[in-house]
């Protein structure tokens, strides 16, 4: 399949300016961002708070209009309405009408999405079970916990069986159990062949779930690509475990190698850049130490993210 045929979401050079208050001053929130999301992948859109993640998602959902640039989903301009039968959206901290029950709110969204009367009842029951809310289906939403509302939010996004699902901070404010539940739901979406676009700042979830990521900082895309490439693109470090080193030797090594050392006595962990491995091993052996293991340290998404956010320079795909 050609690359362009696999593109489900396309954002090209989107600029968004806001005019705070009544003044003439314009605040640019998105500085010409471009990205693609491919069919069937879980795409993580990562960035610190206020970086422009939610603004981008709102442009895609047609909730705000881009100042310039073009955004399409499944080949349709995001300003159109009819194609939204093919997309589902979970807003950040979703709020639904608290006077309705879980079953009623899904019925409301199903009607709006054009789910036929014959299919509606079965689809709602199926989804309530899918997200684990069948026991609370007939309780009013004011009695729901945050995790239950989040799961209901996912159910409403899926009520019309869309091809593409957009999730805005799906793990936000959830306890560890809630996060695991939502993570499992996202993985199930992929197993059903859906494309998932996920806004998040929780890097652990991105690393576990996403096939590709884009990092946005201050309204600019700093990196876009597959996670494996991303973590492999940073500087490699090596962890050396040494034994039989006296505290004095450890301090001396710290000074000589400018390396990070942890632990004293039987086992000392030393993290050094790849090019400094031979020198370090020589020092350890010369000090009467013993080398227990030498392993390549994988650069985490978190350290890459932090270096990208702090670095300021743009990193391409």
């Amino acid at each position: 399949m050609q690359q362009h045929e696999r593109r489900i979401v396309r954002i090209e050079n989107i600029v968004k300016d806001f005019r705070p208050g009544f003044g003439l001053r314009v605040k640019r929130v998105l500085h010409g961002i471009s990205l693609d999301v491919n069919d069937g992948e879980i795409f993580g859109f990562v960035g610190p708070n206020g970086s422009g993640k939610t603004t981008t998602l709102k442009v895609l959902m047609g909730l705000i209009r881009a100042t310039s640039g073009e955004a399409t989903i499944l080949g349709h301009s995001v300003t159109e309405t009819a194609f939204r039968r093919e997309i589902g959206f979970l807003p950040e901290n979703p709020y639904f009408y608290s006077h309705l029950t879980g079953r009623e709110i899904l019925g409301f969204f199903a009607k709006l999405s054009g789910v036929t009367r014959g299919r509606r009842k079965a689809r709602i029951s199926e989804l309530l079970e899918w997200v684990g809310l069948d026991h609370a289906a007939d309780s009013r939403l004011e009695t729901y916990s945050k995790g239950m509302l989040q799961r209901l939010g996912i159910a409403q996004a899926l009520v019309h069986d869309p091809r593409v699902v957009f999730l805005d901070e799906p793990m936000s404010g959830l306890d560890p159990i809630g996060r695991v539940e939502i993570r499992d739901l996202v993985l199930r979406l992929r197993s059903e062949g859906k494309t998932v676009f996920m806004n998040t700042h929780i890097l652990h979830d991105v690393e576990m779930l996403c096939d590709r990521v884009a990092i946005i900082v201050e309204g600019r895309i700093r990196y876009q690509g597959v996670i494996e490439d991303l973590v492999g693109s940073g500087l490699h470090e090596v962890d050396i475990v040494a034994a039989n080193l006296s505290p004095e030797t450890v301090l001396e090594l710290e000074d000589r190698l400018a390396a990070k050392l942890r632990g004293v006595g039987e086992r000392v962990e030393i993290r050094v850049a790849e090019k400094e491995v031979n020198d370090t091993l020589r020092c350890v052996l010369a000090a009467g130490g013993e080398v227990v293991s030498v392993t390549r340290h994988r650069v985490s998404l978190e350290s890459f993210f932090l270096s990208t956010v702090e670095g300021g320079s743009e990193i391409g795909e």
């Binding site: 047609g62 909730l63 705000i64 939204r84 979703p94 009408y97 709006l112 019309h160």
Partner: protein
Amino acid sequence: MKSLARIWTIAMNTLREAVRNKLLYALLFFGVAVILAGVVLSALSYVESERILQDFGFAAIRLFSVAIAIFVGVTLIHREVERRTVYAILSKPLSRAEFLLGKYVGLLVTIWLQMAIMVVFFVAVSLVTGAPLDAGHAAAFALIAAELAVIVAVATFFSAFTTPMLASFFSIGIWALGHMTRDLRDIGASSISESVQSTTALIHRVMPDLESFNFATEAAHGLAFAASDVWLPLLYGVGYVSVLLVAAIGIFERRDLR
């Protein structure tokens, strides 16, 4: 057809939400109480007690229905944006125009339902006291319903782009001015200044002429009337509501929902 179904879905949900609003019940309760109090007041008068009873009833229905229309209407769109319920709704295959029309229809059905309850009390009180009821009363109620449609449209219009507080001020102001534009125009016409004449005439043209929906005096006094006295204001109401809703949709569609 599908568009109508979506508008109706939003409307019915708005109705369901509105009937759970305690403010609506409080105003409805006072409206009914004032209609019933008319019995006591009319009993104090030796002459035209039936007319006093019905004047009182008409005033109660109009005043409390308008109060509900404004106080519920001004939060209609603003609350959806503020609470972010609108995000999930507008991500569905539903246009902003359909959403706004659905909200309008839902509130209007709510207001008409509560008005119907007050009308039931009005009719019951009239029957009990032996006050006359005829076609004039039906025409008066139809015109009150039309005035409410205009007021709900005014509140919806302001709710589409401003805060409930400002929308309340504007809506109440337009309601008050709407009942004075005729007098204003007539006073202006007798002025020697041409600019005063043209200004008051312009205000009368632009602002809703809500006195054209006031048929209470004719109904309470059993005065004869022509069919055009009813359908012309109804037509005017439909036109005014259409202009307001088109303007509200135009503004709401261009708005960034941040």
